[in-house]
């Protein structure tokens, strides 16, 4: 036992010297250029000159000069420190640490950015013995999130404790032409103090800075930490997030730069510099109030810069962290883990209360991140070993694992491809050749790293931490090679191997044997609206993930085919799986459960199309229904004219899935153009895009007559297909992006029976819907499945609006829900059934409804338009 304080400290378990564990990740090695420093104020600046490389600065308090040259990324030469004689010198990287050896000394330095004095020099320090925490919040709002940044700033003020912590925000605002003359758009450092008047104490001068520049981050955080010394330190990075690709988008950086953002390397260098220059060894807490940042590569990039991390796997709504609840946590004498867990708890409470059912947030112990990386390496190695035989299973696990994008984006090339790591691992269990041990090790490592996890109702499969998991080669971004896992883990090798094997796959893929049947199962070439007509088709291939159907109508006037809707072929029996299936996205649940080889699919020819109406006119539009999750809307593209300015822009109009009213207008920005908000007012017009094509397959867009925005907005109506020629194109897609197509032509004829649907309501008072009903699923002509579900319908004070108590379920799995029924005429008599699931999220069935009477009891039939082949029938009890 040595009596030396240092050696005693080194004897602590936490720093017990031992054999170095192989690292299963790596951080990019910096270039030997620029400034390197450490917390002891050792600092050298390396510069290349005509005669070699020189470094000047201070080591161990003595002026130091090195001169020499670079060889293989290392510096060798000679150096002089203080009054000592010149001696040999060497500087080389060990990992990211620059180790400078000069004579008998060795100094460990890290890259350090030059600070921007306007942000870093905030005046004399203001010590406060009561201060527990200093929190630096980096509001990168120079983009379309600016309004949310301003709201959060006000929220911070409301939640700011009177004492116990200092909170300082840097906010960079957008130079939005729509701002008023008194609106500023530059970058300011504001001290948050208690109040509710929206006024803040500005620290430092007014400047315009690039929040995508790591120097801005470094300077701000360094300045705040030096100005307000505290026992503990936190940084919260606020903005759009893109997982390992980075965050903090600045669309209006000074100097007419293109849009910038902080990559992982920028976040790391910015925080490293801030910590070194402010004398802070580590952050106690690093928060990401941004989408998708709870990813393993993000955690690894900052694993040694902070104790705890708070971040979300999923998208974070614009409301972000509930700062009015979060900030008081920083006034308490508690460590970063405790605050992180409190933020997760408060965010969860807030999300549950505000219908954010897709939200997630987790708190992490960053020291455990390397162990998770090692466990991922083990899983990747096991999967690699089995990949020749099992690549399809691995690819399916990548595709179907919990993820945070729409189905459309998941299969696109430019996907974020962020999947839940724990759910992915769970999907590998049982795959032949992949042992359970590495998966169990990963589970345990994840459990050690996760301090707290919140998941909204729609994120039941989220375990807290995601990983980059593109399921096919076209999605893989080469830049991932430079991430911590990309540089030093078999995970990247596994991804590339799976992609390589998928690319080499030449197994047959085909759609054929398309048969059109009528309601009685007889072959047919004519369909009738609501007539029970359907197609059966065979899809043969491996790793099929979806079959898309495009419904075309031949327009005699145009002499061309008109696209009415795009949708996915779904499994009409999916409701039977509803209660028990675990799927990342509802779409994974409603899709046919494709098997390797031959799959027989069912596609209803429902005979219905959608039209868009402004209340007086109605027009077809090419409607996209390919994202049938509970949250995803139906969409159409339109040419929008803002009457006040005459400006014309393309927008995507979203219609609420449950209510079919236009609920959002998303501008379609041109490359390099910042999207601007679209907020239509009465009088503005929309010309919807109709995709057309000729018989040769040449597609061209055409525009419908203009609909005028009215007070009631825009809405969808369901109409029966007009008689004429129709075509449905099927496209099967595999995991690796291979496709096969086929077409089927048919005609639509009038359905004389359809007249009975509206007619049935002519003399019927909808108030009679009140009562008790038994629910059935119609599986064919005169074929019913008793769902053993009772619907007790009660009238409300509103006309045609009913509240329903729905009870059912097998013994031991009973359920009770309380949907609303709304009867209304929308071209046809329709019933809308809207469930507000636990957190208030809407989920609905919608379709034409017919009432009839049999044996003195009412019967109610509804063709659900948002589920192929689903027809419900209720029988009055």
């Amino acid at each position: 036992m040595l009596p030396l304080a240092l050696v005693a400290a080194l004897s602590c378990a936490a720093v017990q010297p031992g054999p170095q564990q192989p690292r299963s990740f790596a951080l990019p090695t910096p270039a030997l250029f620029g400034t390197f420093g450490n917390l002891a104020r050792d600092r050298l600046e390396f510069a290349a000159g005509a005669t070699g490389v020189t470094a000047t600065g201070t080591l161990g308090g003595a002026a130091t000069t090195l001169t020499g040259a670079l060889h293989d990324g290392a510096f060798t030469g000679e150096g002089k420190r203080g009054e000592a004689a010149a001696t040999s010198a060497r500087a080389a990287f060990t990992g990211e640490t620059l180790v400078v050896t000069l004579g008998d000394g060795e100094w460990r330095l890290a890259p350090e950015l030059a600070l921007d004095a306007t942000l870093a020099d905030l005046g004399n320090p203001e010590p406060d013995a009561e201060r527990q925490w200093t929190v630096a919040i980096y509001l990168a709002g120079d983009n379309d999130l600016e309004p949310a940044a301003l709201r959060d700033l006000l929220e911070m003020q409301r939640g700011m404790p009177a004492r116990g912590c200092a909170v300082v925000a840097l906010i960079d605002r957008h130079a939005d032409a729509e701002d008023g003359a008194d609106e500023w758009s530059d970058t300011r450092v504001l001290r948050v103090q208690p109040g509710d008047d929206g006024t803040f104490t500005r620290l430092g001068p007014v400047v315009e800075r690039d929040t995508g520049d790591p120097r801005t981050l470094a300077s701000f955080v360094s300045g705040v930490f030096r100005k307000f010394p505290a026992k503990r330190h936190a940084v919260i990075l606020w903005d759009h997030g893109g997982a390992w690709t980075g965050m903090c988008v600045d669309e209006d950086a000074p100097g007419q730069k293109p849009t910038t953002q902080l990559g992982l390397a920028g976040i790391r260098s910015g925080l490293t510099t801030a910590l070194q220059t402010s004398g802070v060894l580590k952050l106690d807490l690093l928060g990401f109030d941004a989408c998708l940042m709870a990813q393993l590569d993000v955690a690894l990039a900052v694993h040694d810069l902070a104790d705890s991390m708070v971040a979300s796997e999923a998208n974070v709504p614009g409301s972000g962290f509930p700062y009015d609840q979060v900030l008081p946590q920083f006034a308490i004498d508690q460590d970063g883990a405790a605050v992180a867990k409190a933020i997760v708890r408060d965010y969860g409470t807030f999300s549950d209360a505000n219908s954010k059912s897709g939200a997630t947030l987790a708190a992490f112990d960053l020291a455990a991140a390397p162990a998770v990386a090692a466990a991922v390496d083990g899983v990747a190695l096991a999967a690699l070993t089995a990949s020749d035989q099992q690549w399809r299973a691995i690819a399916r696990a990548l595709f179907f694992a919990e993820n945070y994008e729409t189905r459309e984006n998941r299969i696109a090339d430019d996907t974020f491809a962020s999947i839940d790591l724990g759910d992915f691992a769970a999907r590998l269990r049982g795959v032949p050749g992949i042992a359970d041990d590495p998966l169990t090790t990963l589970d345990r490592a994840l459990a050690s790293m996760q301090l707290a996890v919140y998941r909204g109702n729609e994120r039941s499969l989220s375990r807290g931490l995601s990983i980059y998991g593109p399921h096919r080669a076209g999605q893989y971004q080469q830049a991932y090679d430079r991430t911590p896992l990309g540089l030093g883990n078999d995970w990247r090798r596994l991804l590339r191997r799976v992609h390589q094997l998928a690319d080499a796959d030449t197994s047959p893929l085909a759609i054929d044997n398309v048969r059109q049947l009528d309601a009685l199962g007889k072959n047919s070439t004519t369909a009738r609206p609501f007539g029970g007509d359907r197609l059966l088709l065979d899809v043969t291939g491996n790793s099929i993930v979806q079959v898309e159907a495009e419904q075309w109508q031949f327009d005699d006037g145009l002499g061309a085919w008109v696209l009415l809707r795009r949708e996915l072929v779904v499994d009409p029996l999916w409701p039977a799986r509803w209660a028990t299936a675990a799927a990342a996205d509802m779409i994974d649940l409603v899709m046919p459960q494709y098997v390797e080889g031959k799959n027989e699919l069912f596609h209803e020819l429902g005979g219905l199309s959608f039209v868009v109406t402004d209340g007086s006119l109605q027009t077809y539009a090419s409607i996209d229904l390919t994202a049938p999750s509970t949250q995803a809307p139906l969409t159409a593209v339109a040419r929008y004219t803002e009457t006040a300015t005459g400006e014309v822009r393309l927008v995507q109009v979203s219609f609420d899935r449950a209510e079919w009213n236009a609920c959002a207008f998303q501008p379609i920005a041109r490359p390099g153009q910042a999207p601007r908000k679209v907020e239509p007012v009465p009088g503005d017009t929309f010309e919807f895009v109709l995709a057309t094509r000729d018989d040769a397959g040449e597609r061209t867009p055409t525009f419908t007559p203009a609909l005028t925005m009215a007070a009631g907005g825009l809405a969808l109506l369901a109409v029966a297909d007009d008689p004429g020629r129709y075509r449905v194109d099927f496209t099967a897609r595999t995991l690796q992006g291979r496709t096969a197509t086929t077409s089927h032509d048919y005609t639509v004829a009038d359905n004389a029976d359809l007249a009975a649907w509206p007619a049935s309501w002519q003399d019927f008072d909808p108030a009679r819907l009140a009562g008790s009903w038994q629910q059935f699923l119609v599986t064919g002509p005169q074929q019913y499945r008793d769902l053993h579900t009772t619907c007790d319908v009660a009238a409300t004070t509103a006309a045609n609006l009913f509240v329903v108590t729905m009870r059912g379920g097998a013994p031991g799995n009973e359920f009770e829900t309380h949907p609303l029924w709304l009867f209304e005429w929308r071209s046809l008599p329709c019933l809308r059934i809207v469930s507000r699931i636990e957190d208030g999220q809407k989920f609905g069935w919608y379709g034409p409804v017919r009432v009839s009477e049999q044996d003195g009891k009412l019967r109610l039939a509804m063709k659900a338009l948002n589920a192929s082949g689903v027809v419900w029938e209720w029988r009055q009890r």
């Binding site: 304080a5 161990g60 000394g105 060894l281």
Partner: protein, 332 residues
């Protein structure tokens, strides 16, 4: 040609040099009277006249018996000067000599010797050289002493016509040696010398570092100093080269990414001629980040260790003081 040149130079020198009266050698034992001032006193030899003096200044001179037409004197001048600022003893000497030289800038002093002395039981420094006289061709020998102190320093200056210092130097030194002073010790930025372990080891720390009770029952601990949130401990034990190596190895093996600890530097440069290891690291204490600066020196059979713990927020201010303290380490 060579002879001609030499002859011309000799001629020029002969023409430019005034003929001064010759002073008799000044004895090394001074007999005289003590001139006292508020901060100091000094013995003025018998036969010297005191004029133009006040509470701070003493001016005395001796005229030779046959002073000739040039009327030159052997002089003594004592005055106060600004306190000398320095980090440590070595710096103090440099600063004191620099003060002496700067005071003679207008006299075109040519320095011929620098040195140290002990006056009034304290360190003093001197400068010897020549300076021009009040008229062309006049040259005087100069011997100036500086005694650094607080609140002021003391400057004792002697002059004699050149080249007669040889006959006067021992006497000048003897006069200076009669100095008695109540000046405070010079205030070094590096602090007073702390004599530890019976004077075996000394180091300097600025006065702002409060020395705490020695020992505290631990025989190995020699002293503890505290300033603000920082603390430096000096300890010793019997040690040998393997122990020193163990100290260094333990530091070198500490994983850089270990939680709450980061190794910053290991410096094996000798100190005071002894083998040494200085290790700097950072970790987190209860109140935030702490910089640890540990230096172990193998001095004979002793392994002496200076361990400093400095809150990171105070490190920028205190690091130079610790650097100077380590530089000031001396062993008997």
């Amino acid at each position: 040609m060579k002879l001609l040149t030499t002859g011309s130079l000799l001629l020029l020198v002969a023409c430019a040099t005034p003929e001064f009266a010759q002073f008799s050698p000044l004895p090394a034992t001074i007999v005289g009277h003590r001139e006292a001032r508020p901060l100091w006193s000094l013995v003025v030899p018998d036969g010297w006249q005191v004029r133009n003096s006040d509470d701070d200044v003493l001016y005395a001179f001796e005229a030779p018996p046959k002073n000739g037409r040039h009327l030159v004197y052997r002089t003594l001048h004592v005055a106060t000067a600004a306190a000398v600022a320095a980090d440590d003893d070595a710096g103090l000497g440099e600063a004191a000599q620099r003060l002496l030289i700067e005071r003679r800038t207008n006299d075109e002093l040519v320095v011929q010797e620098r040195g140290a002395a002990r006056l009034a039981g304290r360190d003093a420094w001197f400068v010897r050289g020549t300076m021009r006289g009040p008229a062309a061709g006049w040259t005087f020998d100069v011997l100036d002493y500086c005694v650094p102190g607080t609140p002021v320093s003391l400057v004792i200056s002697f002059t004699a016509p050149a080249p007669q210092l040889a006959a006067s130097r021992a006497g000048f030194a003897a006069i200076a040696a009669t100095l008695e002073t109540s000046l405070g010790a010079p205030r070094l930025r590096g602090g007073d010398a702390q004599r530890l372990d019976g004077g075996r080891l000394t180091l300097r720390l600025p006065a702002a570092w409060q020395r705490l009770d020695d020992g505290a029952g631990n025989g190995a601990e020699l002293a503890r100093f505290r300033r603000g949130g920082a603390e430096c401990n000096v300890s010793t034990r019997l040690g040998d080269a393997p122990l020193l190596a163990q100290f260094a190895e333990a530091a070198a093996k500490a994983p850089n990414e270990a939680r709450d600890f980061r190794l910053l530097s290991i410096d094996r440069s000798p100190r005071g001629g002894h083998r040494a290891v200085r290790v700097r690291s950072a970790w987190r204490g209860a109140a935030g980040t702490v910089i640890a600066d540990d230096t172990a020196v193998l001095a004979g059979a002793h392994l002496d260790v200076v361990s400093c713990r400095v809150p990171a927020a105070e490190f920028a201010e205190l690091a130079p003081e610790i650097d100077r303290a380590l530089t000031s380490l001396r062993w008997q």
